[in-house]
Each structure stands twice: as C-alpha cells, then as structure tokens.
C-alpha cells in the first residue's frame, strides 16, 4: 500500500490544562484572551499517526486541515514544522459560531475538495470535549469511521487499527476511504524538525501577509504560501454554517463542586478492595 493521501484534522484550542482563576468569564464562556492558543493535544497524536504511515508507505502525503480565525494559521505552521507536507486553513467570518454540526459540514466539504484516502483527527478537542466532529465528518462523507485509535498499519489495502476502549483493546480493519479518530494514549507527536522550522517559519496566509509588515519576511526569501479557503472555495451553503447552521445552544452552565462528605477506612485485603470497586461501578463513579 503506497501513495496514501492523508488529511489530518487539527484544531487550535485554548490551553485548558493549566487554567487560572480568570480562565472563564462571568457568563461561563472561555476567556480565550488569557489562555495560550495551542495545537489540540489529541490532534498531535493524530498527526504522529499520519507521519508514521508516511514513513512506512512511500509516496504518502500529509495535509493539515484546520478551521478557525486567521491566527489558526499557526496550527498549519506547527504541522509543517513537525513534518506535514502542506496545510489548508478554512477561514471565513461565516464560519464563526459554528457548533459541531456546522463545523463538520464545512470540514467535510473541504475534505471532499482535497479528496484524500484517509482522514485522521484527534478523538476530541480540549475546549469542547464533544468528540463529535470526527464522526460527523465521516457521516457527511458517507465513509466508515474508527474511533479511539492507538496504532494503525496496512495489510494489503485494508487499514488495521488498534482501538483503546474502556474495557480493553480491540483490533479492527477497514477499507479506504476512512475517517479515524485517535486517542491521547497513542504515541506522542514527534518534536519540531530543525530544518523544517527554519524553512517554514515565514510561511504565511494571504490574510497574514496583508495584516503584518512583510518587509523582513519577504526579503530575498521566496515566499511560502499557506492555502486559505473561504465559504466560496468549498462551495458551502452559508445557511448551514455559523450560528444559523448550529442547532446547539448553551442553555446554562453549572459549576462542578467536588466535596468529600465522608471518609472510610479500608484494609488492604482483596475483599475490601473488591467491594469498593463494585460500589464505585454501581454508582457510576468509574466504569
């Protein structure tokens, strides 16, 4: 199996892993200005899987696809630094406010236009935690989907995928085309590559070129362009995008307050531990 065309879905997210007291605004929405924008962690796991496939199967290409505001071009550059061959930024005011349904609609159209054999994304983003976008893209494309992937390789023309499930490991196989979402337990993404950083650090979208001083960037260096697609480029129906295309509405947000109400002493015996495990399973604390 050679020459596989892979699209990696990646999202720029606020880094919610080390939040301070001002991480959320009074209205319950994320205060994006105080949280650094990062490459969604599980999308990095997805990128690593794509790069490993490329190492093994000659002629394979990896394209990063992201949707977001202009500054999300940073995600494309990050992907290029780590080894992606190219990237596309889906950006348009009409995309703003899209929920998972509208996002997957736009992404599915962009994927169609790129016509890959394989789409790999992270299981979920750390801002929304829905894990819906990957599966919805697959549905809209009418392709099979495999979630919670940890490792994958080809046997003839079928992709063999190891899935990490709550109660164990499952191995499945699927023909292409296919959408796979990757778990955080998959191998971490490789670091940036020195030569690629030096090559791509001035890669810019048209929008970035218009908004920043290009004197130094341009210099005598041949410009590397990052492709930008808007609504028109993917021939999307605006009604199905942004707020109008998003049936999801956040009604209310409650704070979760964890309190310990009681404490119990257990002995280290198997019997005590088993009864605790059973109790935790019954009240759905675990499992």
């Amino acid at each position: 199996m050679n020459g596989i065309k892979i699209v990696v879905l990646a999202k720029q997210v606020p880094d919610t892993r080390n939040v301070g007291p001002d991480a959320m605004k009074a209205d319950g929405t994320v205060n994006r200005s105080v949280l650094p924008a990062i490459f969604n962690p599980e999308d990095l796991n997805a990128l690593e899987q794509a790069l490993r496939i490329r190492e093994k199967y000659e002629g394979t290409t990896v394209t990063i696809l992201t949707m977001g505001p202009g500054r999300a071009a940073e995600i494309i550059r990050e992907g290029l630094y780590r080894g992606a061959d190219s990237g596309v930024l889906l950006t348009d005011r009409a995309f703003a406010g899209s929920d998972t349904l509208a996002t997957s609609y736009a992404l599915a159209l962009a994927v169609k236009k790129l016509s890959p054999d394989l789409v790999i994304g992270g299981r979920q983003a750390i801002d929304g935690d829905t894990a819906q976008v990957g599966p919805q893209v697959a549905e809209k494309l009418g392709w099979p989907q495999v979630t919670y992937a940890e490792e994958m390789h080809f046997e003839d023309d079928r992709l063999i995928i190891r899935r990490r499930l709550e109660r164990g490991v499952e191995t499945v196989s699927s023909p292409l085309p296919l959408v796979v979402t990757v778990n955080g337990t998959a191998p971490a993404c490789r670091y940036r590559h020195a030569r690629l950083v030096m090559k791509y650090k001035y890669a810019r979208t048209d929008t970035e070129l218009q908004s920043e001083s290009t004197d130094y960037i341009a210099g005598s260096r041949p410009l590397i362009k990052i492709t930008e697609w808007d609504v028109e480029a993917i021939e999307a129906d605006e009604e199905q995008l942004g707020l109008s295309g998003s049936p999801t509405k956040v009604k209310e947000i409650d704070n979760v307050i964890l309190q310990s109400k009681e404490s119990r002493q257990l002995t280290a015996s198997d019997k005590d531990i088993e009864s605790l495990v059973l109790e935790l399973l019954e009240n759905h604390t675990i499992g």
């Binding site: 670091y191 940036r192 590559h193 020195a194 690629l196 950083v197 650090k201 005598s220 260096r221």
Partner: protein
C-alpha cells in the same frame, strides 16, 4: 511546557552577545547559501532566530524526554550481548527524539546534512543535554568526531560519513589503551596497509572508550612499524558495519552510567586513513581533544545548573525550626555562591566558544581564498586565545561543577545521601568531569603556557580597556589590583628559573588568572545587562581573598621547601 532553554535567562543572554554578529557573518560567508538551501538564513537576524528556535526544540526534548528518563537510565545502564552494546531504553528514546528533530550534526555544513551552526549554539545544546542527563550528553557530544573528519579528512571520507550523523549515526573516539591513558604517545593498536586489498587493517585493544560500540569511530593507531612515540601514530575512521570488531566488556562506573565505557578488540578491522600518516596524535587528536574539552566544559556547566536547581528547590521547600532552610545564612550563602560560580563558569565557557568560532570560521575561509594580513592576524589571535582558554574552561568548570554538586548534596542533608533525590546521581555524574579528556592536572600543564607566555595577562589588560559604566568602575579597580598581584606572583615564580617551581605553582597561577578573567567577564556581562551586577560584585569580592591567599603563599615559598613535599 517545560523547556530547559527558555527557563533560565542566561543562555539567551550569551547567545545574543555582540560578537555573534561577526561570528555568524564569517560562518555563513556573507549568507551565500541562502538561495541554495531553503533553510539557510538570509541575514543575521534570520540566523539568530534559527538558533533560538532550534535551541527551543532541544530545550523541550531535554526537559520532557531526556531529564525524565535520566533516573531509569542510571539504574538500567547499557548491556553487552554478543560483543555489542545495547543502550538502556531511555537512552534509545533520547537519541531517537533528537534524531527525529534533525539536530544531530548541527555544526556541520549544510551539504553534509548539517545546519551550519556556530560553536556557541552548539555548546549551548551540549549544556542543555548535560543538564538533563550528563551520561547521555556523551553520546550526544561525540558528534564532535564529525568536526575532526570535516577539518582533516578527504572529501570522499567526508561525503561518506558526515551525512550519516544527522540520520542518527553515533560516534566514538578510540584513543586510550590499557597502557596509554594520559600518555597517548604509548598507543600500540596496530594499523597495517594490506597492499593486495588496498586497505588499512586495525589490530589491537582499546580501553575506557566512551560509547565504544558507535556506528562511526575515530581510531588512533600505530601505522609506522618500529616507532615508539607520537610521530608513528595515525588517525583512522572505522565503520562498525565493516566488522572485525567487538566489545569485550563495559566498565561498571561510579557515575554517567548511561554512557557505555567499553573495552574494544579489533581483529583485521578495515579502516580508512584520516588526513596524513604520522599526524594522528600530533595534529588531529590535539584538535579532537580541544573540541572534547570544550564539550566537558559544557557538560560541567549543565550538571552544575541541574545541581543548583535541585538545591534551590529543596532549600525552598524543606522546613526546619519553623522556616524554610533557605532563610538561614549558612544555606543562602551556599546557594548564592553556587549560582555566582555557575554564572562565572558559563561566561568563561561562551567566551571560549566565541574564540573557537572565530578561528574556525577564518580557517574554513582560508581553504577557499587567501586571507588578508588583518584577517590572518585575527585568525592567529583567536587561535591563541582558544588554545589557552580551552584548558582553563575545562579545569575551572569541572572542578567547580564538583564543588556545586557537593554543596547541593550538603543542602539536602540526609536526603541527599539516599537515592530518592536526583542530587545523588548528579554528585556521582559530576565526579568524572575533572578526570576524563585530560585530568585537571593535565589541563594545568596545557594552561600554564598562557601564564608563562603572558597570553592571559594580555587578554586581561585588553578587558581592562573596555567601556564600563562609572558605577561599575570600583569593580574594575579591584580587578586591576588583582591583576597587579597576579603579575607579581608570576614574576616571582619565574624568577626562580626552575621548571619544577613553575610546575609546582602552576595550578595556583592558572586559577589566579581564571579568577581575574571571570571577574572581567561578569563585569562585562553587568555592563551589558545590569541584572548581572550583583553577581559581578559577589564574584569579585570572593576572588580578592582567594587570589591574595595564593599570592601570599607564593611570596613566602622558597624552592627548598619542595623537598618537604617529596615522598620520604
């Protein structure tokens, strides 16, 4: 995200030294490769930005991969099976992460898969890796062997071996033997030219070879039958894939346990001659050793930084008598002196790296065109400075690294003596730095030339003339007094006209010069960045009594007292 490069301000400070502009211009030969390679810099800012970004990659690999692996690597260590070394799991992970980041061979030219980085950022990378795991730092640092291939081997050998480093090939320099340690002239491993096959074959044993089972090895061997001194030795490059070689055993060491120290046996191992016959020890190994000594300087600074961090952290958390122990004078004095010494040795390290950068850049340019008279003089001046600063940096930073590691254990108290804290490993790892690549005693033998020829003094007087803000002038005055004292002591020792007297006081004199030089370097750091003023003040106030003690001892010493020291 943890990052060893960005979490202390000192590396960026030294990276942005004003002399870098000249170094980068010479190294890039006026940015002539910008259209040839898509990653080559177009100007100075572009190049500096590249150094910064690549050191950031290395800094995160160090903090997130190498440092977390260090404890396991120390316990697990490498193993020998079937005559070959298997690294510890963590060692393999570390090497793979750095290989995948494309940073190995970073100082080599781009046409050999390198990044054409100067020594300054390369030495910084070595410091970062050493801070994360000093044992692994050897496996990283042996890419220095490529520098020797680059400088002295034929174009054919360069093209065959250099590009492999970036793809992950490891290296070793096979110099010492059971009866040839400090005295390399005694090397016996035999190289003979097989006329029929048209190749050199190596036969014999090497001992104490760091990373001895490397993919690419530089081997010092006796190519001239019937000779017994250094002039009969040549340098060879050996490819492990060619066979005729095995690892007999690895040593069980006190520290740097992740770095395999091997005993090697060569039996008709085919090898290629590097450069000219008979020049192996006299020219090539000397150059190889200078690079390695600078590397040990970086390793020492890295270990010292790690030990200081551990001590500071522990002292700020450990409470006794109702307060954290860093609030007691006995502890905060130790911590501050550790930090000031660390800053001083780091300034000396990067000053030396800059001299090396300039002379190396000129000598590469001189391969292509004739240098002007001024350029030749600049090459000579920087070569001389690199020659006298390199043993000084090796001596001072390795000795101080040991003192800092010692104090770091002391600050931990009983906790430092058990294996639960990293400081115990750092203390063991530090110990080798003043021993290998030439003991401290041998560094003094190399450095004393800087004292007797006036090389250090001339450079000290040059620092004296640099521009200093008025509020720092009292420090310069103190340093001038110390310099006068140093001159007097040197004159006193030399006036005896006895080599034995000079050798006896050599270390004292070299250390006096080092104190003055580091005092000036910190003063110049403070001139450029006021944050370093306190360090300069503290360092100089410690250097005054230290140097005075040595001056007094020398002034009161008579040659006949030497007899008291001789075994009786």
């Amino acid at each position: 995200m943890a990052n060893f490069y960005t979490d202390i301000k000192d590396l960026r400070f030294h990276l942005t030294h004003p002399v870098m502009e000249k170094i980068v211009r010479l190294k890039e030969m006026d940015y002539r490769e910008k259209d040839q390679f898509d990653f080559a810099p177009h100007d100075f800012e572009d190049a500096m930005d590249n150094f910064d970004k690549v050191l950031e990659i290395i800094g995160s690999i160090c903090a997130e991969v190498i440092a977390p692996n260090a404890e396991d690597v120390d316990h697990e260590g490498p193993q020998v099976t079937d005559g070959h070394v298997m690294y510890a799991r963590g060692t393999r992970e570390n090497h793979e992460a750095l290989t995948r980041a494309g940073v190995i061979g970073m100082a080599f030219p781009r046409r050999f898969n390198g990044l054409n980085f100067p020594m300054v950022p390369y030495v910084m990378a070595a410091e970062l890796v050493s801070r994360a795991d000093a044992g692994f730092a050897n496996i990283w640092g042996l890419q220095d062997c490529g520098e020797t291939i680059l400088e002295f081997a034929s174009e054919e050998i360069k093209s065959e071996f250099l590009p492999r480093f970036n793809e992950g090939a490891t290296a070793a320099m096979d110099l010492t033997e059971p009866d040839a340690g400090s005295d390399l002239q005694a090397v016996q491993l035999k190289a003979h030219y097989d006329e029929a096959k048209g190749i050199w074959l190596l036969n014999g044993v090497k001992r104490f070879i760091t990373n001895g089972d490397a993919d690419i090895s530089l081997v010092l061997a006796r190519s001239e039958e019937g000779t017994s001194d250094g002039r009969g030795l040549s340098l060879f490059v050996f490819d492990k894939a060619d066979g005729g070689f095995k690892v007999r055993r690895i040593e069980n060491k006190m520290g740097i346990k992740g770095s395999p120290t091997c005993e090697l046996v060569f039996r008709n191992a085919p090898a290629k001659l590097v450069g000219e016959r008979r020049m192996g020890l006299i020219k090539y190994v000397m150059s190889l050793m200078n690079g390695a000594r600078l590397g040990i300087g970086a390793q020492s600074v890295g270990i010292a930084q790690a030990a200081y961090e551990e001590a500071r952290k522990y002292a700020s958390e450990r409470k006794q008598f109702g307060k954290t122990i860093d609030q007691f004078p006995a502890v905060y004095e130790m911590l501050t002196v550790m930090r000031v010494r660390l800053e001083a040795m780091r300034s000396l390290l990067y000053e030396t790296a800059r001299f090396v950068d300039i002379y190396k850049a000129w000598s590469f340019i001189s391969d292509e065109r004739q240098l002007s008279k001024e350029e030749r003089e600049d090459l000579k001046a920087n070569t001389r400075l690199a020659d006298i600063y390199t043993p000084m940096v090796k001596l001072i930073s390795s000795e101080w690294c040991n003192r800092i590691a010692y104090d770091a254990v002391q600050i931990h108290g009983g906790a430092g003596f058990i294996k639960d804290f990293p400081v115990e490993r750092l203390y063991r790892d530090a110990r080798i730095t003043s021993i290998y690549e030439g003991t401290s005693q041998l560094q003094v033998v190399a450095a004393i030339r800087g004292v007797t020829t006036g090389g250090y003094l001339a450079q000290i007087r040059e620092y004296e003339k640099r521009e200093i803000r008025p509020e720092l002038d009292h420090l310069r005055k103190s340093l001038i007094t110390l310099t006068d004292g140093f001159e007097k002591s040197v004159a006193g020792v030399l006036s005896a006209g006895s080599n034995e007297m000079t050798d006896f006081h050599a270390r004292r004199l070299v250390e006096m010069a080092a104190n003055i030089i580091m005092g000036y370097l910190l003063l110049l750091d403070a001139q450029r960045e006021p944050d370093y003023t306190a360090s300069a003040e503290l360092f100089i106030s410690l250097a005054i009594p230290e140097n005075n003690m040595r001056s007094e001892y020398i002034a009161g010493f008579e040659e006949k007292e030497l007899g008291l020291f001789k075994a009786g």
